[in-house]
Amino acid sequence: MRRFLSLGLLCLMLLGTAVSAQAQSSSSTPDDQAALALLTALDVDSYRDKGEAITAILQSDDERARDWLQALLDGRLQRTDDGRFVLVLDNRGRDWPVADALTNEPLGEMSRRDLDRIGINNALRNQLRSAIAVVDLYSPNVERRRTSADRLLGEVDGELAETLEPVIADAEDEYVRTRLAQAVAIYRAEQGEMAGVEALTGSLHPRARVALGRAANSDDPVVAEAAATALAGIEQQLKINRGLETLYFGLSLGSVLVLAAIGLAITFGVMGVINMAHGELMMLGAYTTWMMQQLLPGQPGLALILSIPAGFMVAALVGIAIERGVIQFLKGRPLETLLATFGISLILQQLVRTVISPLNRTVVTPEWMSGSLVINDALSLTLNRMFVLGFALVVFAALMLIMRRTRLGLEVRAVTQNRAMARSMGIRATRVDIMTFALGSGVAGLAGVALSQLTNVGPNLGQNYIIDSFMVVVFGGVGNLWGTLVAGLSLGVINQVLEPWAGAVLAKIIVLVFIILFIQKRPRGLFPQKGRAAEG
């Protein structure tokens, strides 16, 4: 409670300083007459006069100023035939709903023919953006103050710099203060002033780099040298940040590969069969998410959470159907199983194409998953990728638990290592087969749910990942979940590291060739099974 009180006080103080900094001429509560005069001044032909009118509006501390300026910027401030000023609320269609610019009262709909837009040019547009940013600096809303401070970077001119100096000193929010200081420093550095260069040292914002680049060409050798040194330091920082970003993207790609491959690894490890329809099970998981969102319109987050169990179930049931319907008849013939499951994958793809649509479907990303985590000006981590990364690790941990701590896991491991011996010890291998296949397929469904947050959902979704996930399984070694994790993450990172250097396609080719060569050296992957089990 005390925090809220003090926050309110701070805001009031900030507003107070704002008013004192701004108020020059007009009275504290300008009447509508004065406001009308301000707006009428905008309705002139000369852009220069319009600019002066904007400054006048800014300097009046009318609380409607921001709305007017924003509307002017958006082209929504218009004049009616009878000389009134209105804000257009929605400029689609022929008749527009409007509100009175002075009283903010809705005036119903007006024909666009009866309205006259107050035009602006690019110079005015820039002036308006800065003006709105300055107005926003006094907003009671912290977020808005921060955004406006961001917007001022690189937009500051001499006059504005003067205005901002006292604001910086009074700003309560740490972020706003540093941003504004940077904004002013950028201006100063561009003017070749030493203070600006010093203030910008270590700043990663692109505008700061531009400013320092200009300062490095300054006539003053001392300033130029300082700027060059600062630039070199920034470049170094940027390199590190780029490295971190590549690593993040690599891990993100790797987590997708792990999710895609881990189910495959389980079924391959236990049953020795390659399920070519694995990618299509992922696709079904992704479509489950889409379907859930269609069923629960307006609640993408809830739908996404519900589709985690739903996606698992759908894929697991289809998996059981595949196992019972086809694979059980092909025992001991892994190559035939590969062909048959490939046929199933074709059927599933075509089924989705026929029943739903051959076109991609967009799955909405819930609000709490969109956006990104800003580390600094050069590095921000997108949240959806972070969620997928976390999700992959959770799924991995859960599978690990199932394998290590449950009866099913014990049986699965026994059958993996020696099927005949496990059966003679009383383990029902057929049941284990079904359960493993259901588990592996269910995980594919989960992978699909996760993928729906990163890419478009279409009939080819699974196909795009199937070869990669095979590579992960082969690279990691069969029957070893850790192998799959390490292989998936490292292949993801390798791919991302190679990409800027070789291009996306070539990077993929290099990785494939690397794996083909790797298989020569270690035919059973990074973490091969030891002993007799390996000969299965």
Binding site: Q350, L351, L512
Partner: protein, 381 residues
């Protein structure tokens, strides 16, 4: 059996003594003759007339059949399920395509005397080194066999030496063709990128758009299929072929007996790749285009289906399967294109589950039943 009695003969002529080979060659040449006669002798408009389009289509099927024979050689007799034979087929096709591109000369859209159109389009000023020599037919035709053979040699050497077999081998052959597909899609590779090589005009001076050339290509493909079949048959009936079958059935045991299994595997794999390359080279002038989609894993796995449908380890089964599936594909994609993938997928499942020995197995089964029904007649014969 037959091989026992004729084992003293020269290995390449041995297949001629076999009943199955005689029948196969008889049927093949009868079909070639029939199509030729119906095309040339029967007047147009007559219901029995076979038009140039159909001749061309049959020619395409025959090149697919040769490809299927190549796959059957390694899968049926060596137990290697290659999901990348489309790559060898496509490379042979590209070698032929490069020759045909050079034959266009200055008649391309841009009229450059040496550079193919797509290079002019990409603003290249000289021919990449690997395009040299393809203006000479003998060099290009040698490359049709050597390029896929060399790739198979390097890849097979690495794979068989480290004893990569079974599902693992299938997966890395698939990765191989996938990587090549991605590579050939790149414009920088100098093979026409996405569009591939097309707009061909002449082969050895014959106009590719004339009906006579099409008939000639059809017959040439048929002859190549016959020769390829005889070669494969000769290989599998030789001692080497028996080592292959032993390897397929029990690789470790064969190795313990003292055979260098990987050498046999490598030899047969390279021969098979060369046959696939030849099939590709015959395919390209008949369809008039080669592009990276021939490298797609789907195509390679489809070839395996042809063999599985026809019946593994029979060679003639592969031919039957290739022709059946592709005929069905032509029909289906013409009538209901959406249903084709359903049918193809169902074929994969049905053939592997219900028809493990394919059509050839079914024929053999029927024949045996017939023999059981009429034992005295057969005995007399």
């Amino acid at each position: 059996m037959m091989t026992q009695a004729t084992s003293s003969q020269f290995w390449l002529t041995r297949p001629f003594g076999e009943r199955a080979t005689q029948t196969f060659l008889g049927v093949l040449f009868a079909a070639l003759l029939l199509v030729t006669v119906l095309h040339l002798a029967v007047p147009q408009g007559h219901p029995l007339h076979v038009n140039a389009y159909t001749v061309n289509l049959f020619g395409k099927y025959l090149s697919y059949a040769l490809l299927a024979v190549a796959v059957d050689l390694v899968w049926g007799y060596l137990g290697i399920l290659s999901l990348g034979h489309g790559a060898f087929f496509a490379i042979g096709g590209y070698a032929m395509g490069m020759y045909l591109m050079r034959q266009i000369g200055d008649r391309g859209t841009y009229g450059h005397p040496v550079l193919p159109d797509f290079m002019v389009f990409l603003n290249w000023d000289s021919l990449p080194w690997y395009w040299h020599g393809f203006d000479m037919a003998w060099f290009a035709f040698a490359m049709v066999l050597l390029a896929p053979g060399l790739l198979a040699l390097v890849f097979g050497f690495l794979a068989f030496r480290s004893r990569v077999t079974g599902v693992y081998l299938s997966i890395i052959t698939q990765a191989l063709t996938f990587a090549l597909m991605l590579a050939f899609f790149r414009n920088e590779m100098g093979f026409g990128g996405n569009n591939g090589l097309t707009d061909f005009r002449e082969l050895l001076g014959f106009n590719l758009r004339s009906d006579a050339t099409r008939l000639g290509l059809f017959i040439a493909t048929g002859v190549a299929l016959a020769l390829g079949y005889i070669l494969c048959r000769a290989i599998v009936t030789s001692k080497l072929g028996r080592v292959c079958v032993a390897t397929r059935d029990a690789e470790a045991r064969t190795r313990f007996i003292g055979y260098r299994v990987e050498r046999f595997q490598l030899f047969v794999f390279v021969v098979s790749a060369m046959l696939a390359g030849l099939a590709g080279a015959l395919y390209v002038p008949q369809v008039g285009i080669i592009n990276p989609s021939e490298f797609s894993p789907l195509f390679s796995i489809e070839i395996v289906l042809w063999v599985a449908l026809g019946g593994r380890a029979t060679l003639y089964g592969a031919v039957i399967g290739a022709i059946l599936v592709n005929y069905a594909k032509t029909i289906f994609t013409g009538i209901m294109p959406d249903a084709w993938l359903f049918a193809l997928g169902a074929l994969f499942v049905l053939v592997t589950v219900l028809l493990p020995k394919g059509v050839a197995g079914l024929l053999g089964h029927l024949k045996r039943r017939k023999e059981d029904d009429h034992p005295p007649k057969e005995a007399a014969a």
